[in-house]
Subunit: 266 residues, 2 copies
Amino acid sequence: MRQNLQNTKLTLCCFYPHNGITMHRFFLPPECFGHDGITLPLEVVHQIIRVLRLKTGDRIIALDNSGFEYEAELISLEKDTASAAVIQKRRGKGEPEIEVTLYQSLLKADKFEFVLQKCVELGVSTFVPVLSERSVAGKPSANRLERWRKIIKEAAEQSGRSCLPDLMPTATFVEACSNASDPGIMLWEGEISTGLSQVLSQNKFRGTSHLSIFIGPEGSFSPNEIDLAKKMGLVTVSLGQRILRAETAGMAAVSVIIYALGGFTV
Amino acid sequence: MRQNLQNTKLTLCCFYPHNGITMHRFFLPPECFGHDGITLPLEVVHQIIRVLRLKTGDRIIALDNSGFEYEAELISLEKDTASAAVIQKRRGKGEPEIEVTLYQSLLKADKFEFVLQKCVELGVSTFVPVLSERSVAGKPSANRLERWRKIIKEAAEQSGRSCLPDLMPTATFVEACSNASDPGIMLWEGEISTGLSQVLSQNKFRGTSHLSIFIGPEGSFSPNEIDLAKKMGLVTVSLGQRILRAETAGMAAVSVIIYALGGFTV
């Protein structure tokens, strides 16, 4: 069985096509938005013509990463240039109210990419790859970071996000703990008394507008890392009695937290 | 990027190794459990010797699919036979209190396998593959079913389940709706007023010991299917404003539901 996260745009249908969201979405750089309308970059022109086979008169959603979305009609479409006229500018609905930063310890490449893709769909705002003591995977190369950014962008466009999630530079565990904003939780299998529901019902978490989540590598966090995290104010929590693979733990925790803090409301 | 769900036992470390759960676990047929101890089947003998390289004196957890687990010490280990003495029989902790049946519309093979693996980890009890109107994938072959059973068994052993989740025969959508026990929910992108939190706070759902969850194929349910499901008493719910891929929707919904109904408690 093979799962390829790249080039998935053509085959993956949208499961949740809300009004306006079935139109194809594109995050565009600021210089594309002008007084006269939107000029599409070459890469998007090619995608629109060769892959999506859109025609003049078809509509797209252009995104400037400000939280707004621009419903726009394609008015000219040539081999290497295309432009669109803005029909409506509106506030996007794709961002959860809670801003989640996921400090994900580096995992084997396919697992890490899986976490990125799924957690963009679920609503994570910022990803910080963390070099943990027991990370099997090393610091990502420039090529890999490029690939990760592409996965994030495609997942954000496909899932109807209004802002492009950030991929921060890889941090050491110490840097991650120092930089993480409060409140923060760390999923840890050794935590035997505190479950996620207990923590999320505390005022500090229930009322927060942002949350840091730390997820370990395949071999879990080291005792030193747990000590340091606790000293830095992170709350260690368990996801219960079953053993979750590292990449499942992240997705499950993000699903539950975004749900519990109101991010799945209709 | 490739993700291979088979043969993952060697490389995937347990993220959540609770006491006793770091021992390797094996679901065994009833005839293996005798008055004198446990006789291991050939396949497990080979795995223990060649792959896991266990030795006499090492302990394993044997599972008879009754909800109990048997901590057992390997007392003889030969090329084709092995036996173990039961040290302790105890009730397993790997089952959530809520019994979830997942009616998952057939997806492309890799996505369906992904859903099986992740949802076993999360605690689903029964899987029913459903032939929906818009399913791209057809009815699974005997070989594929065999492979799916293997994925379920490996995920159940790895994640510390005490009972082996069932894989039921593929059902048509009508059969699935008729057979599903009440209460049941159906994730549907067209539902614009009812969110998961509203539904899960109703008494009918909050106090239930079992729940049926319907998840659509890549192209979603058809209008006819939605009508039928509603007539049969299924409650349609939305997972919010973002568009989730079909395989993400299942995992996210199962995570949230099992959490909300107490299945992630420590």
